[in-house]
């Protein structure tokens, strides 16, 4: 059947996926002829829930949009509310926010490097990077008390100060990580299997990256020189010196080099922040009721631009909170990257945008209804078969041929 197309659904639940999402592929042999992405399985109604909670409750809820870039969301929300309230956040607090932001970028990029290694069958890289990542996780735990969902932000500043005895510990960890990252840069540039496997895969030209709205390292690896820290500075970034890392490989290899380069920049930034850390208070008092107004906040999360819009109505609860996480911008680019490419490239191409579907879908706590009842295993199975049948996938004939699924419809 040389010219027959096959439809393959990967997800919502699939062993290769870390989060629920569904990729419906039309395959022509080994190549992807068309792709359709269904998202929303992680939609939790956070935007609606924010309207029913106070600003300070929202800050903690919003931090839980994502387990990896939690600080990105909480900072973005806090600075947006602070703009509406007209709060002058102390400089020390802004520096601490940037410090945690860079530590978060380090842990996220190291995590990504491991995932990328795993997706191409290079599990040694996964083991190495995740072992090293523990150094930055320990520092985050030291500074904030938590490995994830740091809870460092509050409206008007930060909740914990950096003490003088913590600084040498941070610097020591950064030295170790920098040394290790130099080794990964060497692996990235000299290790032939890595370079060959990632080059020419998931190609995205500069024009397409701009036209399709790619953000973060995905865009920067296609020579798009955009970084919110540089273009629209927030927290302490307006006073810090750093380079926006770009690359012109336009593929997964380029995305790897950009993230490695960004790791090296983050180490410099952490040292710079600790050297320049201003003295003074770490918070100003914020009112419970935020005056009516609106603001939009932007933040360069590890995966790209995070956008929060907040509208206030003069009460202690916001009128509207809108979140656009970077993956929603990048996931739409994936279908373009995979068109006419091999199915086997799919895991690494998807991984290369460093997707976070939790972030993307955000938003309704789905709880059990009053009349909830359990389905029997056989009912569940029948439901599954019917569901796939509606999607155009019918295995009845195949099952008969192989004599499986006897007794089931």
């Amino acid at each position: 059947m040389p010219d027959r197309n096959f439809k393959v659904s990967i997800g919502p639940q699939h062993p290769a996926l870390k989060e629920p999402e569904c990729f419906n592929l039309i395959l022509k042999g080994e190549k992807i002829a068309a792709m359709n992405v269904r998202l929303g399985y992680n939609h939790r109604g956070i935007e609606k829930a924010c309207e029913e909670r106070t600003y300070i409750q929202d800050l903690y809820l919003i931090e839980r949009i994502c387990g990896i870039c939690s600080h990105s969301h909480s900072t973005c929300f806090a600075q947006t509310v602070e703009e509406i309230a007209g709060l002058e956040v102390p400089k020390r607090a802004l520096y601490i926010r940037s410090l945690i932001a860079e530590l978060e970028r380090i842990h996220s990029h190291l995590l990504w490097l491991g995932v990328a290694g795993h997706e191409i069958g290079f599990d040694t890289l996964l083991m190495y990077t995740w072992r090293d990542r523990e150094a930055v996780m320990d520092i985050l735990a030291l500074l904030t008390g938590n490995r994830v969902n740091y809870g460092i932000n509050t409206i008007g500043g930060v909740r914990r100060d950096v003490t003088t005895d913590q600084i040498p510990q941070i610097l020591a960890a950064i030295d170790t990580l920098e040394e290790r990252t130099k080794y990964y840069v060497q692996v990235g540039t000299e290790e032939i299997t890595l370079r060959e496997r990632l080059s020419g895969v998931g190609v995205l030209s500069k024009e397409d990256a701009i036209h399709l709205g790619a953000v973060g390292p995905t865009a920067r690896a296609s020579s798009v020189n955009r970084d919110v820290r540089h273009d629209d500075p927030y927290a302490a970034y307006g006073e810090l010196l750093f380079e926006v890392i770009t690359d012109n490989h336009n593929d997964v290899y380029g995305r790897t080099l950009v993230r490695l380069g960004e790791l090296m920049e983050s180490y410099k930034l952490v040292r710079q922040i600790l050297r320049a850390l201003p003295v003074g208070p770490i918070t100003v008092k914020a009112p419970r009721k935020i005056p009516a107004g609106e603001a939009i906040g932007r933040y360069e999360a590890p995966r790209g631009e995070d956008v929060h819009y907040v509208k206030s109505n003069g009460t202690e609860k916001p009128e509207r909170v809108k979140v656009r996480a970077p993956t929603l911008a990048n996931v739409q680019v994936v279908a373009h990257m995979l068109k006419d490419r091999f199915l086997a490239d799919m895991p690494i191409v998807i991984a290369a945008i460093d997707p976070c579907f939790s972030c993307t879908d955000r938003t309704i706590s789905i709880t059990g209804g009053d009349k909830r009842s359990n389905m029997e295993w056989s009912q569940l199975r029948t439901y599954g078969i019917d569901w796939y049948r509606k999607q155009g996938l019918d295995f009845t004939e195949l099952n008969k041929r192989f004599k499986i699924g006897n007794g089931l419809k």
């Binding site: 609606k48 273009d231 629209d232 209804g369």
Partner: protein
């Protein structure tokens, strides 16, 4: 605020009706109120002539009798123009902006699912972000929506256990 004021002047010179409708809230943050009948030309001018080439996102708002829409556009240098417009809530029809920004597809689908906007010109495709079995005419981001999906049916082999949808009101 030099550059922001220049942009403001260019907008006002081009569109006289926006005379007192453009404001600069702070450095790099501009807001404009545009009636929907004029929206297409202002949007086109901002994207093609004023350098607002990045679409940050689209926010939909329940403004009572109207559905508010804010198109957050950005320039390469970080200046953000928030174009606010609105359409009647009883018939919230807007035109797609996907010819300008293909990535707007997801943002427009959110407007459709969560607020009930009708987007003309939006290509056929999967809904986003609500589930396929979400009841019709239930738009969670409308203020009147209080968190109870209208029907809760018992599970049967033909139909999945439909889930009650509740927002914790005790918070």
């Amino acid at each position: 605020m030099g550059e922001e004021d220049n942009i403001k002047q260019r907008i006002v010179e081009k569109f006289v009706y926006l005379n007192d409708k453009v404001r600069v809230q702070r450095e790099r943050r501009m807001y404009a109120e545009v009636a929907y009948e004029n929206f297409a030309e202002v949007f086109d001018y901002a994207v093609k002539n004023l350098g607002f080439v990045v679409l940050c996102t689209i926010t939909g708002l329940d403004e009572g009798k109207a559905m508010g829409l804010i198109y957050h556009l950005s320039r390469e240098n970080g200046i953000v123009l928030n174009l606010h417009t609105n359409v009647p809530m009883e018939n919230p029809v807007i035109k797609t902006i996907t010819p300008y920004f293909p990535a707007a597809e997801a943002y427009e689908r959110e407007l459709v699912d969560l607020l009930g906007a009708k987007v003309e010109g939006l290509a056929e495709g999967n809904r986003y972000p609500l589930p396929d079995d979400w009841p019709a005419n239930e738009y969670p981001l409308r203020k009147s929506w209080k968190g109870k999906a209208s029907q809760t049916k018992p599970a049967s082999p033909d139909e999945p256990a439909s889930r009650g949808v509740e927002v914790n009101k005790n918070a």
